[in-house]
């Protein structure tokens, strides 16, 4: 403010009430989702919180980068020698599962440990909205790992001239999203369900890893020695996820997992059921939770 002669002013530094516009309640969910996604990826936090996300992203995107590099450099390389979309899911499977074990615990556990959940619920949120926002955040971050690299490959190949024809593109795009989306949804719901049982991130992470990997060995023995139904293979989640991706892309893997034997309907149904179960468990746990001490 320019002071005119004799126009000195004293400004009141007291409290200013807020008369401006306020957002609508749904905005709180968006704020929470973005906040959670950023925290999980280590953004806005110290350097050491970015390490694991960075490593995982590197592992996830490396094959895509390498493939694209090869395709660009060696122009006449047969495309078949590069990684197929179906193979990709399988390759990045381990990195994916480990990252899964970290995201949901990071998204859910600290809030219950630190009293933040109570503070959130004392705002324009309820438990359902809270979970929905968290779910969206976890899902979105997972999508970054599952569909992200494939999309990158797709775009890079297309630009480099190795991509599919214009007619096939929408279909391929859809498959990428379907496969990435289904995988992300499955891992998100299972890991959130596990994380809803404990406030300790490390415990939740270990439990998630166990949930994803232990059935793989146990189920096989149960089926072969004890004659349990083959459908039990649907509990070997990493295999299920890989197999689903192969089916979506209409490819046949060289080393087929036992899941290959099951019908597509069963596999799709199994995945859907697991997703639903995870969401239900998580929802039930949060309904009963004491937000207050």
């Amino acid at each position: 403010m320019s002071a005119e002669p004799g126009g000195a002013r004293l400004f009141d530094l007291g409290y200013r009430s807020y008369e401006g516009a306020r957002e609508r309640p749904a905005r709180a969910m968006a704020t929470l989702a973005v906040f959670t996604a950023r925290r999980v990826l280590g953004l806005g936090r110290g350097g050491r919180h970015k390490v694991l996300p960075a490593i995982t992203l590197a592992i996830a995107y490396l094959p895509a980068l390498v493939s694209v590099a090869f395709a660009v450099i060696l122009e006449d390389l047969p495309v078949d020698d590069l990684i197929s979309y179906g193979d990709y899911a399988f390759i990045t499977g381990s990195a994916l599962a480990l990252f899964t074990a970290l995201i949901a615990p990071e998204a859910l556990c600290p809030d219950r440990r630190s009293g933040m959940l109570g503070l959130y619920l004392a705002g324009p949120l309820d438990r359902n909205r809270y979970l929905a926002a968290k779910g969206v955040a976890v899902f979105a971050v997972m999508l970054l790992i599952t569909a992200g690299p494939l999309l990158f490959m797709f775009v890079a190949f297309t630009v480099a001239g190795h991509g599919p024809s214009a007619g096939e593109s929408p279909g391929l795009l859809l498959r990428i999203l379907a496969s990435g989306g289904a995988t992300a949804l499955l891992y998100a719901s299972l890991s959130m369900a596990v994380a809803s049982f404990t406030t300790r991130r490390a415990a939740a992470a270990v439990a998630t890893v166990l949930l994803l990997f232990v059935p793989v060995s146990v189920v096989r023995s149960a089926i072969e020695s004890a004659g349990a139904p083959n459908a039990l293979d649907l509990l070997s989640f990493p295999f299920v996820v890989a197999d689903l991706s192969y089916r979506i892309f209409g490819e046949t893997p060289d080393d087929a997992s036992p899941v290959r034997e099951l019908s597509t309907g069963l596999v799709a149904g199994g995945v859907a059921a697991a997703i639903a179960a995870g969401i239900l468990v998580c929802w039930l746990r949060y309904r009963r939770l004491e937000a207050f001490r």
């Binding site: 709180a28 324009p124 207050f292």
Partner: protein, 305 residues
Amino acid sequence: MPESLIPPVISARGVVKRYGRTVALAGLDADIGPGITGLLGSNGAGKTTFISLALGIRSRDGGTLEVLGHDPAVSGIQMRARIGYAPEHHDLPSELAATDLVRHLAEMHLLPHRAAVQRANDALWLVGLGEERFRPVGAMSTGQRQRVKLASAIAHDPELVLLDEPTDGLDPVQRTEMLDLIRRIGTEFGMHIVVSSHHLEEVERICDAVVIVEGGEVVHAGTLADVRRGPEGLVVEVDDRADELAEILTERGYEVTVDGATLRLGAAEGIHDAVRDAVADLGIGLRRLGPRGRTLEDVYLGAGK
């Protein structure tokens, strides 16, 4: 608008809450009006339960409840956007800087981003944490955390602020500062405040009205002005021989109770001169003399079970 025509901020009729077979609230009736109200009661009396019902975080088992014109069980989401809350416990996310925490919660209360940044800053300065606002909350002392909680409760300029035991863990000087701050916020900033506490003197110091809760029911509700109205007795503090003084006055027909070096006398004719003369005769020192209206403690002890 005359005070009696201003609608209460929180209105409860017959509110019931059970946890299993325990009845936490057994038909609570209260009108918590504009201004600063103290929710007073010992631990386990039902204060925190009532607050969780008023916020709509828990559902009630009976009765009606209206907060800022909303039924928390029905339109709790819109209602909570206009309320600020500081819980009793001191747990806060330890690695977040104070300013990030306050800003995030302001945004979660539907303030646009820029406004949230600005107001978080202002709120932290207001509560005296201006210089420390970039420190992680985990590195803060209890006193500082209490102030961070207060800042988060007011940053989004709510209409109603609920504070649960805001002086818990604070030393005497910090208590006074916190109480003064709360009083300021309630009187100057146009926010209604409910302070839940078991500290009777603190409630008496800063509140305009009080609701006393015991055993899940309201045992007394009213303004502090009403509490203090009433026949004025006398309080006398001497430096020696208080019991003898009490005896002399009792013999003269006055009603006296002794509490250490302090005597409390019921209102009566000629009491001032009687005290003066007895003190002079005994040759003891008169430290304090004054009218004694009813205090909250009298109400509490008279009304309680």
